[in-house]
Symmetry: C2
Subunit: 397 residues, 2 copies
């Protein structure tokens, strides 16, 4: 696989400024466009939001954005007015070096909640980040690493499509690990493209992509205060999707980038040993299918059964039963990794050893089929392990 590359006109950097305890950890990233770009964003729906969410949310959609500045190790959430002042100061510092207004810079922070940002370290680090800006895959990689908290690997992708005979690139970086749930977990993602699109297109296409990707994953059901997905489009490729076919192709590529990044988050979830796909079909509305999928995904008993490669299908069916979606048991059929376990409300004889062995591969597909309509949803989650408990029982202290 080739290394993910930045779209034309973008540069990036990841440096260490000492917010994280480990001295050499990258914890400050910049994504910069060499010209004004269209920017769109989708943010957490938590009532308690980080200061960077308040600041960035107020600045998109926009047409003159130049950069995103991000730090890890401290989420600048639950920090009151001082937190908002600090987030604005981060953007002003970045803007000063980029010769633009602070308002043209977006900001994201991830890490511990409720601590004030070490502004001395950021004041010293942002100029170094600016000096390190480069358009190489290596710089993109370092920027992706600078966003990581308990992630074990950076998450990046780039895809290229052709519009009006021009190669157009869509690339993104994301961080995840835990506190992941719709509508979104502590995940941050910056997606960039050199296509020319309008702010309205950017916002609606990003929302569409996020609803089928980042909003369909859950690690632990805990919705973060800081989730942010940003899309920057700078038009440097000299091509603009205009026809319905071109717009559909661009949307498809954007979907693929968001989908890939969201899957990478689940595959790197804290302590996870299983990658779980939940398909729910045959409901009257997508929202009902979604509620069932999310309820199954967030059940600690379903998760721990998967940890143990245990085809304990009663936990799955009973979780579906409390999703507040009306159905009768006889409307419901369950297939796990292709094995029929429960058919139209009745248990089916099956070989537990076979099903368990298929689960031990680390890939589990839960297929819940109803007979009540034509809507369906796909959702992704992971199992719940003792390692997740260990990681989260001692995070701040």
């Amino acid at each position: 696989m080739t290394q993910p590359k930045l779209p034309q006109g973008f540069s990036a950097a990841g440096v260490s400024c000492g917010i994280k305890v480990a001295a050499d950890s990258l914890d400050l990233s910049l994504f910069v466009s060499d010209r004004d770009c269209i920017a769109a964003g989708v943010f957490t729906t938590n009532r308690v939001v980080g200061a960077p969410v308040i600041v960035s949310r107020s600045r998109v959609p926009a047409t003159t954005v130049r950069a995103v500045v991000l730090n890890s190790g401290n989420s600048n959430a639950c920090t009151g007015q001082r937190g908002i002042d600090d987030a604005e100061k981060m953007t002003a510092l970045a803007g000063a070096h980029l010769n633009c207004a602070g308002e043209q810079v977006l900001v994201c922070s991830t890490g511990v909640i409720g601590r004030f940002l070490p502004m001395d370290k950021l004041t010293e680090g942002i100029p170094r980040g600016h000096a390190a800006l480069d358009s190489t895959p290596e710089a993109f990689h370092r920027a992706a690493r600078g966003m990581m908290t308990t992630d074990t690997v950076p998450k990046q992708i780039s895809r290229t499509l052709t519009i009006q005979d021009q190669p157009v690139t869509v690339a993104g970086a994301a961080k995840g690990a835990a506190m992941i749930a719709p509508n979104m977990g502590t995940m941050l993602s910056v997606v960039m493209t050199d296509a020319a699109i309008t702010a309205e297109q950017a916002q609606s296409m990003l929302r569409h992509a996020v609803n089928r990707s980042f909003n369909c994953i859950s690690v632990d059901g805990h919705m973060s205060t800081s989730d942010t997905v940003l899309l920057l489009a700078n038009g440097a490729a000299g091509a603009s999707p205009a026809s319905p076919e071109e717009l559909a192709a661009f949307q498809q590529t954007l979907n693929e980038v968001c989908f890939d990044l969201s899957q990478k988050i689940i595959r790197d979830a804290e302590g996870a040993e299983h990658f779980v796909t939940i398909q729910v079909s045959g409901l009257p509305t997508r929202d009902e299918a979604f509620r069932i999928a999310k309820t199954v995904a967030d059940s600690a008993l379903v998760k721990t059964a998967i940890t143990g490669n245990d085809p304990n299908w009663g936990r799955i069916v009973s979780a579906a039963g409390y999703a507040n979606v009306p159905f009768r048991e006889q409307d419901c059929t369950l297939i796990v990794n292709g094995f029929l376990l429960y058919e139209s409300g009745r248990p089916v004889a099956f070989d537990e050893q076979h099903v368990s062995a298929s689960m031990a591969t680390g890939e589990v597909t839960i297929d819940l089929q109803f007979k009540l309509g034509a809507e369906s949803v796909k959702f992704w989650t992971c199992d719940l392990t003792a390692e997740y408990v260990r990681l989260n029982a001692d995070y701040t202290t």
Copy 2:
């Protein structure tokens, strides 16, 4: 503490009939009244319910109930029509020995989902249970043990009050451990009284007591298919609460019995090391306070922070933020074990070692105060430990 005793006119038994793997485990219980009694019940709101729930729910409120027959080790849930036939057969078997109709017997089952009941074992066991019936505290204790699944201790209580110069007793037994969440977890409880009350009183008083006890606890947020709380009132004490004061006193005693049993369930929750009380106050409605309390209680990140004695208050505040209750950060104050951690939306300096040491006692009180109204709720939960994962990663296989 004196041993809990049965109310007048009640007898009980707990025997082993071989449903559980361990040969000497008690797994079949009977609670019997020597005369017809008033019976009320509150049941799971899961769409997928066990066959015993279907059968018992159809038989209450009632005025001629004689007994409850319960088994552990198999929940007879997700078993279709055959499961319903089996549950009815259990009541008919018990009724045959009690010289009453099967319809006068209620039934509960708890344990693995999706397996047919071993009716041969029950057919052999129910007569032995009948032969073992006794009104002693020891028989009550054995009946409480016969309901246990992964519970480590039986859960019982009896309380006595005086009505019309007569001593009136309210006694109950319960089982819990996991799959506990409103509206209710896999918990079963049988509450008995020798007071004389009407079926309507029994139903409304039981509902009131359950709403403030069993429906305010959560181990893992997974709502079971089998939760049942039954109240039997046989009038053997020769006293009937009639005046508003007497009714209030009886309600209070019933509340205390249900409260005590629900607290015992949390204290014996699978793998739990901390007993957690969540108080949410100052909301416009009780439902909003309840939603915040339950969302905090069910957060894996809050639970694991408590496991680690970690005063990671950001996880608590951010969980409150996604409970779908409108509030602003400045409306919210958080106190943990008496230590102010977050005041009107701003972090407060505090001694982490002191707070952590107070959490290490195993008792944690989370006090979330809002300024939006006069309603409040109390909710109880436990932490999430590696032991919980171990217990639940290998339960059926």
